[in-house]
Amino acid sequence: MNNNNKIFQFKLVLLGEAAVGKSSLVLRFVRGHFLDYQESTIGAAFLAQTVCLNDTTVKFEIWDTAGQERYHTLAPMYYRGAQAAIVVYDIRSEDSFERAIKWVKELQRQGSPNIVIALAGNKLDLAAKRKVETAEAQQYAEENGLLFMETSAKTAQNVNELFVEIAKKLPKTPTTRPGSGRLPITPIDNNAAKKKTCCNGN
């Protein structure tokens, strides 16, 4: 079994209005905890978490907005090359749902073709103050081929489930990540590289 277990890495971006709970969702998923007063920015480039499916392992490289959504200044670099996106809204705010729809459209226009998009209605623990009906969001998601779940980062309801559903839907072909000739740059062992260059080797 273990021999067949393949690891696939995907870039996943979070989108949505400020204060809908994007960072909290990620922290619940990655760290398993929740802070009532989460600061609006996170001091990390991105977080990583792994989901194990039957015969494959999916590693998410999760990008948070770093507050750049606040004045609508997210850079195209942010969602470039993302294979998955979670568009989050607050079930208590119709504005945040409208904004989420705009993000979905932006992703369909500018994002990678074949991107897997999940719509998440967050703050399900505060359902008493709900303004966005489940059926309405569900219908929108179906019409646009999105995954849909209502979540609560506070109680952890549906958080892992959401990531697992995304992991299942992502295409697991070896060609998903490394495009032709694309490379990340990493530190290189000085001595190893030296040997190869024409002037240092003999």
Partner: protein
């Protein structure tokens, strides 16, 4: 009336920034400002970063084809432009003509094919009739007759398979990433080192160029990347190969990193000897090798890649740049150069994100209206274009902004101008590898200065087959236009119409543009003064998207100096901790 005014103010205030005090306000998200913003936020400063454009990077940005076309079109109408600006813009779009030609050609082919199939069908029918005749004659062949019937059915089905619809150039245009100011990164250059050390490289992906060439005597010479490839090369004579190796060996001896003190002293002594022998001049050192004209070109333009004021380059600078070239070979690929996969515009974006991750605030489409000073000429704050006053100790922007905002002080700058050509063709140059860099020494195609040519895949989507994108760049002096500076070299490589392309086998220009690019930069001594003179908190940084070297070294140096002025005791872009090392929930 009053009520209306009050409402207006309220409406305006809705767009205001939540915070009205920052340590530093930067205007413009060019390369230098972005790196600086990232470094300042990383060092704990509160940063507000504004840009009047709706996109990041200013002229250091990368554009889709339609964005580029719009930008070029708009720049034609600007009166009294201030740097950086584009001028003498010429755009030629032949894509529709070629696409129509191709369509007609395809129709003709389809028709021929149809006729051919019709002819075959008739022939087969005839055969079948004879076969049937045969079957009657010999019943054992019946099975074969049925088989051929099956084949026939298959053949009838094949024409139904639809050919993929060919996308037009403009439909493909959105997958393009075209730089106004393309820049290359040495694999072992200061920019790549910084990207790695600061962790900003995590946001980016790169591609390695395949090959560097020198164009001389109507020939493209490979610039070899290994000793082996020098000797395999068939374009240089044996004597020339020896000269190249001797030169590289000399540079290696001078610059090889060593721990041994004695070796170090020896190196320094040797360098000093050479320095006094050649008056500290790189060109004189090169001349002393007694090279052929071709080898000299190869060394000066192919390896050193310093393309401005070559006569006055110091021996040390020349030696260092050759060493940088040589040590960058075979690090990530055969060429010493990397380019960002989605264009250079991603580099400012990566550093802006780094700034945001460390709490920096970003607002696009917003500029600065005025600066306010106290009686001692010390900056107190700025006023945004939305009317919001913001307190700040430092304001940093390019010369054009600072000059209009702070008229009390003088900020001397020098203006530089480049000629640029951007072309999209149907194929790459013959006998070249896909991603290539070509250097044209002066006087190759009646060019006064060195011309750099970059050949790239135009489309950044791996499975979409693209066109080929070309960038030509040269320093422009006097009043000559980009077309005057570059046309003869462009015509040397490309065809303008199908007839020419067919008869010469040159790539055909489907879309092209010439333009001049003017910007302001600080001279070396002004740079010092600007940083060290306390201008009351107003700091200037060059526009310069293109430096005198091929990479970002000089711009990076400038960002670093500005940073050190504001944060004298801090580390410039300290490495970001790995996610695993972060302790959560304690930073309240």
């Amino acid at each position: 009336m009053e009520e209306e005014q009050r409402l207006n103010i309220k409406k305006e205030k809705e767009t205001w920034i939540d915070v009205d005090q920052f340590d530093v306000v930067l205007l413009g998200t060019n390369f230098i400002e972005s790196i600086l913003a990232g470094a300042l936020a990383r060092a704990g400063k509160s940063v507000l970063h504004l840009d009047k454009n709706s996109f990041y990077g200013g002229f250091d940005s990368s554009f889709t084809l339609s964005q580029l076309a719009t930008l070029l079109e708009e720049s034609k109408d600007v009166k009294d432009p201030i740097p950086p600006y584009l001028s003498n813009v010429i755009v030629t779009d032949n894509s529709k003509i070629f696409e129509e030609e191709e369509r007609l050609e395809q129709e003709r082919k389809d028709k021929e094919e149809q006729e051919e199939q019709e002819r075959k069908r008739l022939e087969q029918e005839k055969e079948k009739q004879t076969e049937q005749q045969d079957t009657k004659d010999d019943e054992t062949k019946g099975g074969e007759g049925e088989e051929s019937k099956g084949e026939e059915q298959q053949q009838e089905q094949t024409p139904i398979v639809k050919k993929p619809i060919k996308k037009t150039l403009h439909e493909l245009g959105r997958f393009f990433s075209i730089d106004l100011a393309p820049t290359l990164l040495y694999s072992r250059g200061s920019m790549v080192n910084l990207l790695i050390s600061s962790s900003a490289s995590k946001y980016l992906e790169f591609k390695s160029l395949d090959q560097n060439y020198l164009y001389a005597k109507n020939t493209l010479y490979n610039i070899p990347s290994t000793k082996g490839s020098i000797f395999k090369d068939s374009t240089f004579s044996l004597r020339e190969k020896r000269l190249i190796m001797k030169f590289i060996e000399t540079i290696r001896e001078l610059t090889q990193p060593t721990e041994n003190e004695q070796d170090k002293q020896e190196q320094e002594k040797k360098l000093e000897e050479l320095n006094s022998k050649h008056d500290g001049n790189f060109l004189k050192l090169v001349k002393s090798f007694g090279m052929t004209e071709l080898v000299e070109s190869f060394v000066l333009y192919g390896l050193s890649l310093i393309h401005e004021n070559l006569e006055s380059i110091s021996l040390k600078q020349g030696v260092e740049s050759v060493q940088l070239y040589v040590s960058s070979l075979l690090v990530y690929g055969t060429s010493p150069f990397l380019v960002p996969y989605y264009g250079c515009g991603d580099i400012p974006q990566a550093f802006c994100r780094l700034c945001a991750v460390y709490g920096g605030t970003y607002v696009l489409q917003r500029s600065v209206e005025s600066l306010s000073f106290d009686e001692n000429n010390i900056l107190q704050g700025i006023k945004c274009t939305e009317g919001q006053p913001i307190k700040t100790k430092y304001f940093i922007a390019s010369p054009a902004y600072v000059k209009t905002l702070d008229t009390q002080n003088t900020y001397p700058t020098i203006t530089k101008r480049y000629s640029r050509f951007i072309g999209i063709t149907n194929k790459k140059l013959n006998n070249t590898l896909e991603q290539s860099f070509i250097t044209l020494p002066p006087n190759t195609c009646s060019n006064k200065n060195v011309i750099n040519i970059l050949q790239l895949d135009s489309i950044c989507v791996p499975y979409l087959k693209g066109k080929t994108l070309y960038h030509f760049t040269t320093l422009s002096e006097g009043e000559s236009t980009a077309e005057e500076d570059l046309k003869s070299s462009v015509d040397n490589f490309f065809a303008n119409n199908t007839q020419e392309a067919t008869s010469t086998d040159k790539p055909r220009l489907e879309w092209s543009s010439y333009f001049n690019f003017t910007f302001e930069t600080l001279t070396n001594d002004i740079k010092e003064k600007n940083v060290l003179n306390k201008d009351g908190g107003v700091l200037v940084c060059s526009d310069s998207p293109i430096g005198s070297t091929i990479d970002y070294a000089s711009q990076l140096e400038e960002a670093k100096k500005l940073f050190e002025y504001i944060c004298p005791n801090e580390i410039f872009l300290e490495k970001v901790p790995e996610p695993e090392d972060i302790v959560w929930g304690e930073a309240q």
